[in-house]
Subunit: 498 residues, 2 copies
């Protein structure tokens, strides 16, 4: 399939069911397919949308183009869960079927209001000159899952932005409703976060751009989220074209966060104090994360594991990307912590205790046959240098490499240079984080076929990446550059599918 | 949608993907949808096919018409499992896409041979006069799930049968391959089981009709299976139009079994001794069961929970039917026993112990809020009369009723007359089995939204049925016609989704 404008924007009614059934089977049969993460039933998945708690269940939707690994005509697919881990796929929820979302039902959010779930999203309409008209649209979902779209747009493009105006996040703060939106300022062509108040879910007031930094945020900000973590405001957003001198990053586009001291929404002022804008994830593939606050004040985040304008090896199988596991957010010593949710432990099969083994040829085999769905908790003692290999072949010439030093100038480098199908190599094949010197290193690693999520030192960092190993490469081992044995302890669990 | 010949046999390529996505979402969102059983991703599911163990996994396929609750153009959908309980849906596997299966890839079986899975199934072709030509077709599935159909039919319609010639079961016995097929004899228009030897999976020899009874088996036999249970041969089959004086049954068509003493395949002789043909299931909705022997000689069976020519309430939601849970077969005192597989216990949440409670107004409430996925093990003491209500409303005017006597003339009657949407009432609203007098009654009841499976006295009987209760009716209670308290003990577990 050649992805022309015509094929990307072909109506769902003009694709055949036979094609869709074959695409669904192809995705399901892929050796790289995820077992315990949200994945597309076919085609391309991107941003998580409408992440919320409603009617006694967790809800998440995802951006879908069901007909191939391309950004074509988008819809929302819907999943529900009782525990944030086991998700049930309910299929197509919001189709691009009105004049306002004729060219895509794009990203948005959800907020429970009384006995319904309010959905707010961006509908794109392209006119005959292919000029984009972004509309911020609303819909109500009832308890039976029936969705009724509002007849008219809630917000149209303001005079002060370009047509890059999208991704509404609707939220409630101190009994008032607000919406933040990603925007490009018309005059300066720079990335902004637009803020609106939304009185009684009826009357919008443009509060202007949210003031949160002096720095220029590239040419566009996508997917802004404003939530509260342990009562502190947190901005999560994706500045495109951000100058790397402002904040260093490696991926094509970064997903950033900024922790605040306070926020004054009526003044559109986000006070960050001494806090700096930082990478939300230190891996290769996280983008468009969506977060929300539960009624009891907890904060959960889920990410698209995929990037705009990046091709993945599964493109050849006509499907692409997945969502991350849900991460619970908290603060510790003023730092943002991301943790797996408690129910992730329900996926565990019987655990295997691990500890430093006899060394053979400078290699310590930890697990010979890991399978493709597992959790590995490992503590590496202080003052050590070595490499942890995941999905390794026999001689470890192929593996996902976690090189670490826990001595002075401590660091962790993840390299996917020597594992399977290579992709996006123009953005580098390694990612490095600096670690506190001379401290033991705690790793919680989740592997799901072609996805790796590493929680470092209790969630101070998360390193997320896709990798595409050859089938059968399932060894976990430690190697050290010297003959010194490496000291570790930990637990290994195979994980069940959801 | 009106189900004309044109709409039933419309090519999959001529249905739209939009229609399919909506049908999939509608099925997924149904309040009646199954949580831990195999269910259609859209449209109608019927016979289980290709139930087998291959490449380290359990495989099952099902007959699918994806476009509505009708018997239209059939294909095979594929699922795999590690434990016979948690199934992963791999989607469309065998499409009706050759001249030999142009009007449906109908039922069949699977047998692992070396590193491939051999599939054998009935392809129907209709000529321009709409005359059916049944072809027995073959295909090979490799370890990656790729299926390659054989170019030519394996068996064409024999001179001695009509075009009712289908449902091949291929199996190996004492190092030789055989195939049994459902057939209608051309001369007598009676139901037969056709037997072929299949030398080296290449050369077929028609061994004639299997001799297994003197009685006339209606006008057609569908879905024959010949397997071995504890070294005794077992026939499982569906005689259509069977005289109820031959074997009594209540459903539109029965699913029967006959246990044998011996089988001589070269003579096409199945020796039943004193054994009688019996109903495989004593409920309302089991048909087209498929069984097979594992390499280590175990016997597993799975059933279509649905019947030909019967409409179900979910027809209005454009989907229909499900598969039963897998049942392990064994013999006890010369009787066939059907048991849940061991892994079913992995679905259990924390158990709640149950025992005789104080009686209030002749009603003993066992569980007030059962939810819609649970297992209930209950032992009812001897010499008692009463009714166990499932999915009951507050005053029990609505419930699925299990009326029992454990005294003299002991029996169990299941009634769906007083629960939710009624259907197939022309075949009665109750089913009754006789029980041994003055013995305690052991029930293992599995409820999954709209499906009930009851294993009686350790699997001596299975009673399977669909029911369509009003949402919110979730009480489990016992009532007795007298003021006497009913004595029971047991355990209740909520069950997880798969």
């Amino acid at each position: 399939m050649e992805w022309t404008r015509e094929t990307r924007y072909r109506a769902y009614a003009d694709w055949s069911a036979e094609t869709l059934l074959k695409l669904q089977a192809q995705a399901a049969n892929s050796q790289y397919q995820l077992g315990y993460h949200i994945r597309p039933s076919s085609g391309l998945l991107n941003d998580p949308n409408g992440f919320s708690y409603f009617n006694g269940q967790w809800h998440v939707f995802y951006q879908s183009f069901p007909f191939g690994a391309a950004h074509g005509l988008k819809s929302w697919m819907h999943l529900v869960s009782d525990d944030l881990v086991h998700w049930k796929d309910l299929g197509l929820a919001l189709a691009p079927d009105t004049k306002f979302d004729s060219h895509g039902a794009y990203s948005g959010s959800a907020l429970p209001v009384d006995d319904k779930l309010f959905l707010m999203y961006t509908g794109n309409h392209r006119d005959q000159d292919w000029i984009r008209h972004p509309f911020q649209l609303g819909a109500w979902m009832d308890q039976a899952g029936q969705i009724t779209k509002l007849d008219e747009p809630l917000i149209t493009q303001p005079a002060h932005t370009t047509d890059h105006f999208r991704d509404p996040q609707v939220f409630k703060h101190r009994d008032l409703y607000y919406v933040v939106l990603g925007a490009q300022d018309k005059e300066t062509k720079t990335g902004k976060i637009s803020l609106f108040s939304f009185k009684d879910l009826k009357e919008f007031t443009d509060l202007g751009y949210l003031e949160f930094t002096e720095a220029e945020m590239g040419y566009m900000i996508e997917c802004p989220n404003l939530i509260f973590v342990d009562d502190k405001p947190l901005l999560v957003f994706c500045p495109q074209g951000l100058d790397k001198d402002v904040v260093a990053y490696d991926n094509i586009y970064p997903n950033m966060y900024l922790l605040g001291e306070d926020v004054q929404l009526n003044k559109a002022k986000f006070e960050a104090g001494d806090n700096q804008i930082q990478n939300l994830d230190d891996g290769f593939d996280v983008y468009a994360s969506q977060a929300f606050n539960t009624p009891d004040g907890k904060a959960y985040l889920i990410s698209w594991v995929g990037l705009p304008d990046v091709s993945y090896p599964t493109d050849e199988e006509n499907w692409a990307s997945c969502l991350s596991q849900v991460k619970e957010l908290s603060l510790k010593d003023g730092k943002l912590i991301q943790r797996p949710v408690v129910s992730m432990a329900d996926l565990r099969e019987k655990g295997i205790s691990l500890q430093t083994a006899e060394k053979v040829n400078a290699k310590q085999q930890i697990i010979a046959e890991s399978g493709e769905q597992y959790e590995l908790k490992l503590t590496l003692d202080t003052d050590q240098n070595g490499t942890l290999h995941l999905a390794g072949n026999d001689d470890l010439s192929q593996s996902l490499k976690l090189e670490f030093s826990t001595g002075k100038d401590a660091y962790l480098t993840v390299s996917r240079a020597d594992i399977g199908a290579q992709f996006a190599t123009e953005f580098g094949t390694t990612r490095t984080i600096l670690l506190p010197d001379q401290k033991a290193l705690d790793l919680e690693i989740f592997i799901d076929h072609s996805l790796c999520e590493i929680f470092v030192n209790g969630g101070e960092h998360v390193i997320t990446l896709r990798f595409f190993a050859e089938a059968g490469n399932k060894q976990i081992a430690l190697t050290s550059p010297t003959e010194a044995a490496l000291n570790y302890r930990g637990t290994f669990w195979k994980l069940k599918s959801i």
